[in-house]
Amino acid sequence: MVAKLLDLAGIERERVQLRRVSAAEGALFSEYVTEVSQKTLEMGPFDPTQYMLELGAVQRALGTRRLRWLSGMEHQLDKAENVYREKTDPDLMEEVLSEAIRSEYHKALILEMLGEGPLSVREMAERSGMPVYTVSTRLNELERDGLAEFNCHEGSTAKFASLAA
């Protein structure tokens, strides 16, 4: 999940590494650290200031109840069967998960941008690089959830503001 979010935010996914090490594999641990350090070295220093917006969005998305619920369920649906002894089909699960992550990330990005003050759809699209269409659909979802609302008119364009904390 974190990897997908990082992709969306445009941050190299290899920056986050997971490894399995047992208490007896001292040598293996040192090999992994050397390998991870080398990879991170090649990726060069990571300047958070460039990704302030995206990272804010990642954090906000990770806080949403929907993604946390899904990550909790993911473990359970993979392993256990449901009442009818059926196991969820992994690809379907993958699909649902990616879709949820993408939508939550976009919504979070919008709320991040609106954090600094009301913006119009086109402004948001330019700032975030998201297609205008995506911005407006996500915006409707936010309005439905009561997290954003129409704020005012500036000339002919409508501005929206965030209601989220």
Partner: protein
Amino acid sequence: MAENYEPKILAFLCNWCAYAGADLAGVSRFQYPPTLRVIRTMCSGRVDPLYIAEGLVNGYDGVFVSG
């Protein structure tokens, strides 16, 4: 990249497995680059994705979770 640039990696090590493995690497003097900043957790399961994001926000060059 400047040569003296030293990446800083935030590491979450599980107390029973990876942390003990790191200790054993120490006891046997296996050398590895000094890039890690280790936080000990009772289990790798404890590492909330929020902490990983927190790490990146704070400017770490990488996050390493080992269970």
